[in-house]
Amino acid sequence: MLTFILRRLLQSIVVMLVVAFVAFLIFRFVGDPVSSMLGQDSTMADHEQLRERLGLNDPFYLQFFRFVANALQGEFGISYRLQQPVTQLILERLPATIELAFASATIALVFGIVLGIYTALRPRSLETAVVMTVSLVGVSLPTFLIGIGLIYVFAVELKMLPSFGRGEVVNLGWWRTGLLTQSGLRSLILPAITLSLFQLTLIMRLVRAEMLEVLRTDYIRFARARGLSKRAINFGHALRNTLVPVITIAGLQLGSVIAFAIITETVFQWPGVGSLFVNSVQVVDVPVMAAYLVFVALVFVVINLIVDILYFLVDPRLRDGAKSGR
């Protein structure tokens, strides 16, 4: 068990280094931070001086090495745009992103599983046809269109929900939460729905397919032959066996919900790390972009690690392999 986790950890570190390296390669092509920092009144001498002081004239490998050395100490530098420490900026905005991600993951899981079961059990009903058709829209419409559409209907026309932002927030230590105020909860609804729609459709279709598969298996037929109640068969036997792959996918999707909330956050002016990243790209705020990409890599690595460990606990074949000293 220990060697397995250690090996996984080592692999994770390599992944993080590769991500940082690729990020740094890309930053060389996104533009020059200096011209947006200095404005039009500056002279060429000012530009050169600032480039020198920021170390942008140094060779690529030196900049990368300096970044890794600092990052290992948790030091990501000062944002070029906002002139505040990057670690602090990301930590301040993380609660917004995490609350949004968990809200939308919950919506996706609950509605995805319920609708998936329903459409599997009644494959030929009218409701199923409607749900399946609408879900196609969910996967095929781009997120920003869904977001703008929801804003238009619920904020502009019906004036029921706020059009942007996070509403009032309450500070619980360093964690700034929007879940404890009415305006915070109201503000969460539209972005959470927007962000959940794709995952919801995915989970629903996965549950439906798995369930249809399981319902055709022999042990379900035997259960029916034994005269067990429909309820016991569907929920006690079929659903339980359906959920194993669903949990895996849902876990991995949580990572991408956190990482790719960028568009939803931009459309709703949601003050999370995604919108911080978008604002930073526009002015080539390299310290923030680098820290964000490393953070996203970390999220994926940690979730994968947890999933791997869960497999290890669930799957006896892996366990035996480890015991024999592999």
């Binding site: 092509f29 996104v30 533009g31 020059d32 931070p33 011209s35 947006s36 920092m37 200095l38 404005g39 039009q40 009144d41 500056s42 002279t43 060429m44 001498a45 000012d46 530009h47 600032l50 002081r53 920021l54 530098g77 000062i78 070029y80 745009r81 906002l82 002139q83 505040q84 420490p85 900026l89 703008i148 804003i151 238009y152 904020a155 502009v156 004036k159 706020p162 059009s163 942007f164 932002g165 996070r166 931009t266 459309v267 709703f268 002016q269 003050p271 919108s275 911080l276 978008v278 604002n279 526009q282 002015v283 080539v284």
Partner: protein, 526 residues
Amino acid sequence: MHSTLARIASALLVSTALAGAAHAETVRWARASDALTLDPHSQNQGVTHNFNHHIYETLLDRDTDGNLQPRLATEWSVKADDPTVWVFKLREGVKFHDGADFTAEDVVFSLDRARSEGSNMKQLHAEVKEVVAIDDHTVEVRMVGPSPLYPNNITNTFIMDKGWSEANNVVEVQDFAAGETNHAVLNTNGTGPYRLQSREVDVRSVLAAFQDHWAETKPAVTEIVYLPIADNATRIAALLSGDVDIVQDVPVQDIERLSSTAGFKVETGPENRIIYFGYRFGEEPLKSSNIKDSNPFNNPLVLEAMHLVLDRDAIKRVVMRGQSVPAGVATPPFVNGWTAELDAYPAPNVERAKELLAEAGYPDGFTVTLDTPNNRYVNDEAVSTAYVGMLGQIGIKVTLASRPVAEHSPIILANQSDFYLLGWGVPTFDSAYIFNDLVHSKTDKHGTYNVGLYTNPELDAKIVSLGTETDLDKRNATIAEIWKTVQEDRVLLPVHNQVLAYAMKDNITLAVHPENQPLMTDVAFD
């Protein structure tokens, strides 16, 4: 500078004032981006200055017509016996937000800070030799030579409290390159009409009216909630749904719809910003052209043809939806040196342009690459695309290279472009600002944005003379001469001046500010 007593007194005043302000008028003000920092000398950027103008004040200010107005200075003049010294008389009875008195030593401190090494405002004070307090309410700014236009440079240089800055260790401008943070980035103590109540960067900032402000008329707006909303559609939706009251950055395609929507109105007005095309001068062949033995742009006939084929009215009508002021000279009308005569432009004439091109020796045209930003100016990429089509009519085949401004700027500054689109604002409202950076030969101090490397030593001498000429009539005559040469040589190809639009609820009045720096003190309610 400030005693504990004064602080307690002001705290009491503020608390009673807040209790009394039951009929507070709050304005929720949205625009595309947030102020980058509250440190007044750290960034020379319009959005940041606009926000800081509510908290801090400058010696002089500009009204919506662009004229200089007294603010913390009540009078300003060149010293009678020394043309190199500017004398500023300071307003009396002004208080900082913490209760400290505003005096000459604060001005000396702030101007010195603004021209220090780490300041981004230092270019505007490059000609200052020293700043001296004569008495509590008189300051002399001694220049290296006669500087008749220096007052134009200080309308965004904010005055900080010396005592507060020393107490909070912000005497130096933040050196973020060295990884430093600074108290002044998030905290303020100005003399302005509003004081900072709370600030969440990129989310919301709240400002409340400063009860001890010196102005006799109190602003109608007693509380400002400043809300940056990056996405255009969301920003407009926020106004339509009633979540904000004023939207400053309105996309041109929404202007018509908003003004026809009941309950809302749109104010438009010209911005102090000219949009123009520039090209590479000199004998050397262009890198991006199929003509390998000469530079077509170095031929005045070719430039004349390109001028004739640019249909500015069509661009205004189709690309800008009527929201632009077509221009024949590369300066906005606000600027000293602009004349209607210079600004005239010819009706497009494709036949004549073709003839000129043939006469120049390019009967079949030529190819070239046009570099354009796509997120900096209003519909910048669409303006370039339209011009590409127009040039195609006379056989100039243009490849469009469209990039975000962060990638466009390095190409411009490194003189890597053969043909480019750029915009230029003129914060000093004087032509010299345009000549210094766009027309003067490229040196360490001048011609930073002279991308085409135009050079004319005779013109350079005239441009430099503008900086020290104290006889205003003579100076204006020189400006007219320079413009004449610039137009004859077709150094720049102007397209239009941008138009600004602010949208708001229809019970609010707020005029467009030519530098896009509206003050909420100017807001009136019906």
